[in-house]
Amino acid sequence: MNYLIVILSYMIKQFNGNRTIYGAYHILKGKKSAQTMQDCHLFNLAKFFGVYKELERDTVTQVIKALGDQGLIFQCGEQRFTLTKKGEDFLCRKVNINPLPRYLNGFIYKDVTELFWKRLVLTTQCLSFLKINKKNFLPIIKDRNTQTWVKKYLTSSTAKLDKLPQDLYRELDMVLKHFSTKEATLFVLRLSGTHRIGLTNEQVSSKLGISPFYSHLLYLNVVHGMLHLVSNKKDDYPVLHSFLNDAMNNSLLTETAKRTFHLLKQGVSIDEIGKMRGLKRSTVEDHVVEIAMTVKSFSIDPFVSIEEQLTINSVIDELKTKRLKEIKEKLNNNVSYFTIRLTLAKKEIHNGSKENLV
């Protein structure tokens, strides 16, 4: 929980008392709700979106207590905090020793990260074995989609299969030079080859003498950095880029939202979708908001009338707030949260605060 203290202090600083600490928790967990996704951009915290999926509420409570006990934060409302002067100094000092990972960008890369990593790990393992003509080994990634993909990838590139180990090696060697020795080391230690099995994050962190959370962030930093470098210079990294070909497009939607999207396109209503899929209406509504936030071409008009959109937008501009509750009260509770969230989502995506989205 060491480095989590630093990250949470940083988020408290960014929030500056405008959001509860659970806003930070949801960002770290990568909650795909309209509120959380909007907060990412509002407070410039998009890099931390979904970087700590296993985080538990209790852990956050403990960190807050520790920060309070040391006088690093000041409580300014129900579960809302600001950094004290002492807190600012603390954050400054900590970030000097272990800087915030610079390539980290959970918002854009959250869902591609795992896919890219798994393909890379399994391809690497396969090439390591094939290079010494061993065909039978236990794949270190069990996930069937990854296995199918890698199998297809390796069999469809038979012509260059003997060159592939060397090419991938060169690309990795080149791209890893963009990172610190510590980062490159922990990344390579997590790969598996014929001579050893890859290490887990925890094993790597104890080997390097850093906290598991920090080493996890550094690992994400390398992957996100790689994704950034590779997609910007695809001619320099043809092999790494080929791991991404099909991945960058629709992947920003969760699987379950994708299914809802599919049904919506067939003209099925929200209530019907709920019945068909055995989901609560509110869950399907979350999907619709998620789709509105992610797919620029998605029209919210079937769900919110043009007049309502105009009214809500003018209230947002007038109050200069994005807090749903305030907006709802201003409208005498005549509109639903769902309506407001959808309108906000559309506004956000049109403001272009997410340049990389489809």
Partner: protein, 503 residues
């Protein structure tokens, strides 16, 4: 000689282990078989080999997802590709694809649940079924240690498929459980191959420790520092596995890691493979570890917490010494653990609150075409096993049909009452087994091996030299000063990357 040839060509083996050949020959002669082969004796070969010789498809029913996948991966890594696992975790597309390709397979592993799928059964009915294998067959009996309600429907499925040759196979089943297997699967003319549960190369030791945890830890550290690895330490909770690993680490023990169900899949696989490849020499784990793991050279199993019953104990110590070399099983027994363990027993079953929460959930979502099970688990906080237990009883009462909920007009009090009675019965039975095993642990007067065998109506004929602590066993024989782990030398990331790609 055909059999031996396939044994060598497919499995790279030159000889059978006791029991295997008999079972295989009977199956090849189209006879139903009930087989009990001790853990670690190569149970799976008994059906895998005939599967590749017989015309048609072999269906293997297996209770555990991870077990299935391990088996499939293992076979594939040996070059046998005509194998597939079907379970409820596949997406619809994946399942459809697998069904379409089914005729290309020789072995299909299925969960008992997925066998309830109509589309799968329809597809299977079009095919020639060579064998119907019920693995871990003790799961069919509520007297067994891992009762699975879904197993009770297997006979019906087998009937529907035209009664293909059946193999019911298990590692541990008392006479009572064996009879139950025969009844529930409706086996009429069948051969039995019951082999002793005894594993003569595993010495059995129970060390009495006082009520203080510190005493146990001191013992553990002493043992681990001296015993020849690789080894496994079993503990009762996730937290304990982590704590023990860190304590031993601080004591200077290298090559150690913990393993439990709370870790993510990728990490679990890494740890498991490191252990199999001798890059780790010690695993602290819950009972989640070890199923389907094929590691021949495990030299010791220590129970930091004892399991809740004899069958689990046998299964866990049975992971040692599959290479048939001398190995040792040590249980650190303490009266102080009993309250916690009694607690664990009841927690396997849903409590009143959870039962009510389930009914409430079903009531709220009564319009749904199908019960959303993952949502239900999330909202009620039950485990998968608990839910299946409840579902089975609701199905028996017609409240759930084809995964759809049917509201009852006459209220639920009676239903809840009968469910609670069932649970009380099961808990009482588990407690009875627990007490019996505790008795065995604290009895320092009779040969442990003989008393285990007695519970399976066997008697000890050849007592091994290193039998048990009661008969006298010298632990020094199992001590060593050598390390068995491969140390890997790390120079720089550049160098390491070169090694991986052989550059």
């Amino acid at each position: 000689m055909e059999v031996k040839k396939i044994l060598y060509e497919k499995f790279k083996l030159t000889s059978f282990r006791p029991g295997q050949e008999e079972v295989i020959n009977d199956l090849l002669g189209n006879g139903d078989v009930l087989a009990m082969l001790p853990t670690g004796s190569g149970k799976s070969l008994c059906y895998q080999l005939p599967a590749f010789m017989l015309n048609g498809l072999t269906i293997v029913v297996s209770p555990l997802l991870s077990l299935m996948e391990d088996q499939v991966q293992h076979l594939k890594s040996q070059g046998m590709k005509e194998v597939v696992a079907l379970n409820s975790f596949l997406s619809n597309e994946e399942r459809e694809f697998a069904l379409k390709e089914l005729h290309k397979q020789k072995i299909i592993y299925v969960s008992p649940e997925i066998l309830q799928s109509k589309s799968l059964r329809k597809r299977l009915k079009q095919m020639t079924i060579a064998l119907f294998v019920v693995d871990e067959a003790h799961c069919i009996s509520q007297w067994g240690h891992e009762f699975r309600t879904d197993y009770l429907k297997l006979n019906e499925v087998r009937n529907e498929l035209g009664n293909p040759t059946c193999l019911a196979i298990t590692a541990t089943a008392t006479k009572e459980v064996q009879q139950d297997i025969i009844n529930k699967l409706n086996l009429v003319r069948f051969k039995t191959h019951i082999f002793s549960v005894d594993r003569p190369n595993i010495g059995i030791v129970v060390k009495e420790c006082g009520p203080l945890v510190s005493e146990k830890i001191t013992q553990l550290v002493y043992l681990v520092k001296n015993l020849q690895g690789p080894g496994i330490i079993y503990a009762s909770s996730r937290k304990w596995t982590e704590d023990l690993a860190s304590i031993l680490n601080k004591e200077g023990v290298n090559g150690i890691s913990y393993y439990h169900g709370g870790m993510n899949n990728d990490d679990r696989l890494l740890i498991q493979q490191q252990f199999i490849n001798n890059e780790l020499q010690l695993i602290c784990c819950t009972s989640a570890f070890g199923m389907g793991i094929n590691k021949p050279n495990i030299r010791y199993v220590i129970h930091f917490h004892s399991p809740l019953q004899l069958e689990s104990y046998l299964q866990e110590i049975g992971r040692a010494g599959r290479d048939r070399r001398g190995s040792i099983a040590i249980t650190l027994h303490s009266e102080g653990d009993i309250p916690l363990q009694m607690n664990l027993l009841t927690h396997e079953f849903p409590n009143n609150e959870q039962i009510n929460a389930v009914l409430e959930f079903l009531q709220c979502n009564k319009g749904f075409r199908r019960i959303n099970e993952s949502e239900l688990l999330k909202q009620t906080g039950m485990t998968d096993v608990m839910w299946r237990f409840i579902r089975f009883h609701l199905e028996e009462h017609g409240v759930i049909v084809n995964r759809k909920y049917h509201q009852r007009a006459d209220g639920y009090d009676h239903l809840i009452k009968s469910l609670e009675d069932k649970i009380t019965d099961r808990i009482n039975d588990k407690q009875r087994k627990f007490r019996r095993f505790q008795q065995w642990l604290s009895d320092h007067t009779q040969c442990r091996r003989a008393t285990i065998l007695a519970q399976f109506d066997e008697s000890l004929i050849d007592k091994p030299e290193n039998c048990c602590d009661v008969c006298g066993i010298d632990l020094n024989q199992y001590f060593t000063t050598e390390s068995t782990i491969k140390n890997f030398e790390f120079q720089s990331w550049q160098n390491e990357l070169k090694k991986i790609f052989h550059q």
